[in-house]
Structure formats: structure tokens, C-alpha cells
Homo-oligomer: 245 residues x 2
DNA sequence: CGCCCATTTGAAAAATTTCAAACGTAGTGG
DNA sequence: CCACTACGTTTGAAATTTTTCAAATGGGCG
């Protein structure tokens, strides 16, 4: 993996999962000039306040959006897996209002704004699909707001696990109630608005209740129904197509 | 106010504030068939789970997005003033993952998806500007997540007031540190993830500290700098153009 | 005037944080 | 192979923030 063309094929597969693309549209996507960039944990793809000239398509690894406040406070805004485009909005917003960091070693395919703009101007259908990606993103933000505002820590964490499992399942990265979960408790804390101490306690409760366990950085769901109930989960917001579970 | 054509002129003005529109593009927007709909508080423009066939352009009044959970819990996701399009994302997502309600009596101009799709297919520049609207929305969601996750009640409420003042100022609805603020304490509570009791106490603290007061459903900011500091406000996320304050 | 609704206040309870220390584990270098 | 270190996790106890419950207050309006 990692050749630019393969990254673009993955993008095509992702877009096609929503709506068909003509051969002409596929060709145009394949012609996008993409360069590969590797990012290590503790490095950023882009920083808060930057005005990027490229969009990054995540090819491999986990990345996350975040904002920093005073006194080392950090808020994680979203997690990203292969196929995601965590700074796609820079195409139309110019200045980034958050950073994008790497949780694990990441491979990104960088696509110049200029070419994306040309592509979307020529192919409204492709534009609509990329637009849609950013709209799903916004739906996830809305759901996180709801979680943080109206769920206790237990349900909030359960909800995040449901989301991350289903999103990975949808792109073939998870199956059998088992999925990669490289987050540290610090990351969970900064994503849910809690402290690591409390995360530790609530994870213990989730384990004691036999909903989940961890095995070598993998989440194992032991009782999907009860996890789902604890989270008051409603998958509508993920806007996945073939929804089975 | 309220004739469909005037609503569309307002939309044009809003879009133009970001990037110029050609005369042809303006004409195409003016040709959109819009129908007017009035919504009273306690009524919804659209409900969670619906598959709308129109997008609503808010012409007058305040509306809000929200989600409901068990036991009467409600989370407000955003507030909207004239010029906003709180269900624009339905154009590409199909199923709504939240409801849109009216805080005050509202006037909406309803534009059929079908015509919006035709417009955006024909005019990529217009598509980009509408896309951008949804991206600013997402930026606001990100900031709310940060507020809810990493700010105490005092700063969270201060932050919301900063945002609502600046957004109204940007579209000419506010000036002189004074703006309409029709929210009840219940709405503030459901927007910030707090309870009305706590909202009441924190508002008292904000008043006692001489940051703000209310006069006939208007917010009056007495000390912008200190409100701003209490909120740890950074206006980047609003992606406003002529930013003065 | 009386009623409805929103707001305020008080006191106790709950959720979560803070601070501090202990524990575990996976590398690194001797 | 062991000691050492770094980092992440766990645990305990006290403090803080916020909620809950309950009652009182206040304003607007028919």
C-alpha cells in the first residue's frame, strides 16, 4: 500500500459506496496528482491556524482533529481511519480552525486544492460526494455534542466505542465485534471531555459489566446489545448505506 | 419582508459576502422557486428522521437544531438567525439526524432539493458557496464540542454569548454590544449541556461580574474584553470575513 | 386578580476532578 | 539477563462542579 494511485482507488471505492461514478469521473479522480506523506504520532499533518494548499486523504493509520486551550487542555474533535479526509474543509474555508494529528504512524495522500477545485468544477457529481463526506462529518460532530451534553461518562464512552466499531466495519477494517482501538486513555479523555482518571474508572465498570474488553490494542465487544443500550445508540447519523447490525 | 424573492436576495447577499457571484449566477438563484412557510415556537420545520424534499432558508426569527434522548433529555446543536439554512445538509444526506424547531415565530423560504441540485450542477461556484455554508456550520459544531468538553459552565455560557453576538453582528442584526437574545434558560441549558438551575446561577455570576445584562430579551455586553477572556474566545472558527472586533 | 411560566434560591446528593502515590509493562543499555 | 527508565494505567481520598429536589419569587397577560 502507499502508492498514490492506490490511495485514489480507495477514495473512488469510498465515494462509490454512496452513488455511482461514471468512467469519466473515475478517470478524472485517478488523474489527481497525489503525493504521499508519512506522519508519526506527535507530529501534525496540519496545525491550527494554517492555510493548507492540499487536502490529506488518510491511507493508513489513525489520525484525529483537535483544538488546544490554555493550561494544556486539549479537545479531540474526531477520530479518523483509512479513507477519511480530515482537512477536506480547508478546500473552502481557507484557515483551519483545528489541528490534525497522528495517533498511530499515518500515511496520507496529499492532493492539491487547485486540482480538487478543478475536479469539482468539472464534475458536479464528484463535488456532491465530497461535499457529502463533510456533511457526514458534521453529523458526527452533532452526535458528539449530544453525547457530551446529555450522556454520563459511561454512556459517552460506550457511544464512542459503538461509533468507532461501526465506522471501521463499514470500510472493512472491523468484523466479529472486534476492531483496532489504538487510543490511549488520554485520548479517550480528551475526546469525551473527561479526565484520564475517570476514564480509567469507567472502563473498569464497562469491563466489570462484561460489555467490552481490550486485547492488544483491539476493542472486543462482548455484548453488543447492552453496549448499544448503554450508549442509547442510533446509527442514523453515520449515514452508512448497507446497515445491518 | 417575506416575499420569496426578498428571501433569495438575502441569500445572494450572504453568499456574496464570501465570494463574488456573476450576474448569471444571481439570475439563476433568483429563479429558484421558493415558497414561504411560517413556523411558531413549539412547531418544527422538520423532524428528526425525516427525508425532506426542500431546504429551508431562514428569513426571519430564530430557529435551532436539536436531538432528543430518553426521559425528556434534549440537546440543542445550533442556533440560527436570518440567512441561515439549518437543513441544507439534507440535500446530500437524505435522512435528517436531528430536528429543526422554532425559538421565535419564524419565516422560512422553502427551496426544493431538485432545483438546488440543478443550480449547483450548473454553477460550481454557487455549489462551493453553499458547501462552504455547511462547512462553517461544522466549524461551529467543533467549537461547541470544545466548549462542552473543556470549559466550565461560566466560560461555556460566555462563549455562546460571544458567538451569538458576533454572528448577528456579521449579518447586521447586532451592533453596539447589544443584540437580540430570545433564548430561555431552558434553551441555554440544553445548548450547553447544563441544567436550568445551574444556568440561572451562572448567569447571576456573569451579571454580578458586570460582564453582561439582559434588557427585554436583548443581551447587553458591558465588558467585551472580559467576556471574551472568560470564554477564551477565538473567532477564527466563524470564518467571518471582515473581522473587526 | 389570578394564572402560567420562567427564574431564583437553598440544601443535599451525585458525578467528576484533583492530587498523590502505586503499579505494570515495554523498551534500552549495561 | 537485569536494572533502569518512561509511560500509561489503576487506586484512594478529598475537593469541586454540577445536579437534583423542592419551594419561593417574579413578571406578563387574559
Amino acid at each position: 500500500m502507499a502508492a498514490p494511485t492506490e490511495a485514489l482507488e480507495a477514495l473512488i471505492r469510498k465515494l462509490v459506496s454512496t452513488s455511482a461514478l461514471t468512467e469519466e469521473e473515475r478517470q478524472a479522480i485517478r488523474r489527481l496528482p497525489a503525493t504521499i506523506r508519512h506522519i508519526n504520532p506527535s507530529q501534525d499533518l496540519v496545525e491550527d491556524g494554517e492555510r493548507p494548499s492540499h487536502c490529506g486523504l488518510l491511507v493508513e493509520g489513525w489520525s484525529y482533529r483537535y483544538k488546544l486551550l490554555d493550561e494544556g487542555r486539549r479537545q479531540i474533535l474526531s477520530f479518523h481511519v483509512a479513507g477519511d479526509t480530515p482537512d477536506l474543509q480547508s478546500l473552502h474555508l481557507g484557515t483551519l480552525d483545528h489541528g490534525v494529528g497522528a495517533l498511530t504512524p499515518c500515511t496520507f495522500a496529499l492532493i492539491p486544492h487547485e486540482h480538487l477545485r478543478r475536479l469539482t468544477a468539472a464534475f458536479p457529481n464528484v463535488a456532491a460526494l465530497l461535499w457529502r463526506e463533510t456533511l457526514v462529518d458534521a453529523g458526527i460532530f452533532r452526535t458528539w455534542i449530544t453525547s457530551m451534553g446529555r450522556r454520563l461518562a459511561y454512556g459517552r464512552i460506550a457511544h464512542l466505542f459503538c461509533e468507532l466499531y461501526l465506522r471501521q466495519e463499514a470500510v472493512g477494517l472491523a468484523a466479529d465485534l472486534r476492531c483496532p482501538m489504538p487510543l490511549r486513555q488520554t485520548d479517550l479523555a480528551d475526546a469525551t471531555g473527561l479526565t484520564t482518571v475517570h476514564i480509567s474508572r469507567v472502563l473498569k465498570a464497562l469491563r466489570d459489566d462484561n460489555l467490552i474488553t481490550f486485547e492488544r490494542r483491539q476493542l472486543v465487544v462482548h455484548d453488543w446489545q447492552r453496549l448499544y443500550d448503554a450508549a442509547e445508540f442510533d446509527p442514523t447519523y453515520l449515514h452508512l448505506h448497507s446497515f445491518t447490525r
